[in-house]
């Protein structure tokens, strides 16, 4: 009876430790396929104010309390940011990013990941943050060679695209 009990104890211990040890680090998980690279696009950018700014008339200023009399008023809400990314001439991402904040006065933000084949690529990035109807306020073309497993970060910072 005793050997059987010892065997049962050993089996239980081995199974339990095996379960803990194995699933603690196995099986491995691959987020991107081999021979692929990653492009990460992220920025937080505040577009121009919606409707622009205007000067108050003398009558309008008169109606305000003395300490509130600012000559220029602007709308609080911001415009959305339009972003387009082309990879090797084909559209990769195109989105209208609304401003954040309850009053729509915060920056537009984005974080996107794109799995692309490793190798040489041509990237075109366009961004619009004004009221213009056609065209973009910023546009850049960037040639890049990505090794397998490499990650390219694209940011929009101080009026220009930044690649890292």
């Amino acid at each position: 009876m005793k050997p059987l009990r010892h065997a049962a104890q050993a089996a239980f211990v081995l199974i339990t430790l095996g379960l803990i040890g194995y699933f603690s680090a196995s099986p491995p998980y691959a987020r991107v396929p081999p021979e692929s690279a990653l492009i990460k696009l992220s920025f937080a950018h505040a577009a121009a104010k919606k409707g622009g700014c205007r000067e108050l008339s003398a009558e309008e200023l008169e109606r305000l309390a003395p300490n509130m009399r600012r000559k220029t008023i602007c709308s609080r809400e911001r415009l959305p940011v339009d972003i387009e990314v082309l990879l090797d001439g084909a559209p990769l991402y195109a989105e209208r990013l609304p401003p954040t904040g309850l009053s729509g006065d915060g920056p537009s933000r984005v974080y996107e990941r794109f799995v692309v084949p490793a190798g040489s690529h041509s990237l075109v990035l366009r961004l619009r943050d004004s009221e213009r109807a056609a065209g973009f306020d910023y546009e850049t073309t960037h040639a890049v060679t990505l090794a397998a497993g490499e990650s390219l970060a694209i940011d929009f910072f101080q009026g220009g695209f930044r690649f890292e």
Partner: protein, 535 residues
Amino acid sequence: MDKAQKTDTADPFAFLKRPLRAAYMRCDRFLDYTFGSRDNPFYSLGGLGFFLYWIIAVSGIYVFAFFDTGLTEAYESVEAMTHIQWWLGGVMRSLHRYASDGLILVIGLHIMREFAFDRYRGTRWYSWVLGVPTVALAFAAGITGYWLVWDRLAQYVAETTAEILDRLPIFGSPIARNFLAPSYVDDRFFTLMLFIHIALPLVMLFIMWFHVNRVNRPRINPPRNLAIASLVLLIALSLVYPALSQGPAELSRVPSPVSLDWYYLWSYPLVDLWGPGGVWLVYFLGSFALMIMPWLPPLKRSAPAVVDLDNCNGCTRCAVDCPYGAIRMAVRTDGKPFEREAVVNPAQCVSCGICTGACPTATPFRRAAALVPGIDLGGLPLVMVRERTHKAAAGLAGAARVVVFGCDHGGAIAALNSTSVGGVSLPCTGMLPPSMIDYVLSRRLAEGVVITGCRDGECRFRLGPQWTEERIEGKRDPQLRARVPRERILRVWAGPAEMARLAREIASFQQRLATAGNAAAAPAPAEAGQTVVAE
């Protein structure tokens, strides 16, 4: 159909609970046989959880002493611990990891067990609901720990966690931007993560205290042998299969593939399948479903225990034995010369009757007054138990008549009835006053008494089998009188799936009684007052 089965049919989750309960009971039988009932790890899942928490805390404090918060220092300090000081630092790191994984495993088994045995509805909603944030905090604490190592897995965890959090519309700038490229991370990040990693388990401990504070005598410590074995085995695993880092984090590289800790990070690959929104849906629906389960549907409560001050002398035994702390001792209100009186909180009473079994006035021998003990169960007063006992014994014949006292949640007692066996089912075996055994034998209602019910760790009301055993063995008040012949008592703790074994034990017991009766001699000492738990 017994009471427990009737309750079962009204439960929409019965189709899940039945097979799960059967699986647990099979495991219990195996583990009772393997380690003995006392050290069965499945009976101490909550206590094991607490014990693993303390291992995590102690190993974490050690690891913290050697951990450096810095972009390169974090990884280097963990590597130094793992490889240079492998004999202690490495073991502590691995112990920290494996105890954390064990904690998640134990929590999962604990949740499923309480669900399978329907121990989460009624007054137990409180512990169940508070368990939900405890689980969430355990996951959050573990995930922030992986973040600190700052290896490739940490990078994956950081990027994916940030993506999940960014789905919430509360951050002005995406958190994931912090891990966009090498220049975006700074040393302060590690200080912040370390603070969160320490703060979360402290909050978790605080909630764990609330989780058990409506439970009388919670098993927050596993039995000593089990605790020592768990610690030794985790150390052995740490030495044989040490936890290792997966190379330093490189934000200019994709951390793929990574060796995931599936206990903590099972939901992370779902981000790639369903997006962060889908993962939040899983988290939200899972937590919400767990939270509302105690009311799906609410447990139909039997009438709670009632105190009869004319018979209560304020002895405190009922309050001490109540498994859920539903009885408190208050200042006497009826002018009788006693200091205190028992007061039942009906909202916390689970109607198990264990208080009646603990009451020294609950004796069926009483003749002078009506059989009303100091505390009695509203739905099944002791006088009714005595009537049922008489009824069960009335038709019995033969030289080895046996009255079986069992519980509604163990084996179906009615199925045992025969010409020589009569059964009485109670809400919990712990409701049986020891004097009832004396009563049956001394009044010659039967030659033997069988006490049965759920195995210790399967008791619906937690403490029934333990209190019953201790009362019969004279270790707990009210004790079974010394005059009662122990050889005429058989205790068999058997679940619903063990009816055949119970029947076999009773048949064997009857044979012994008949032999003893014929020989008019006491049976062999080895068989006297026998308790049977495992086959």
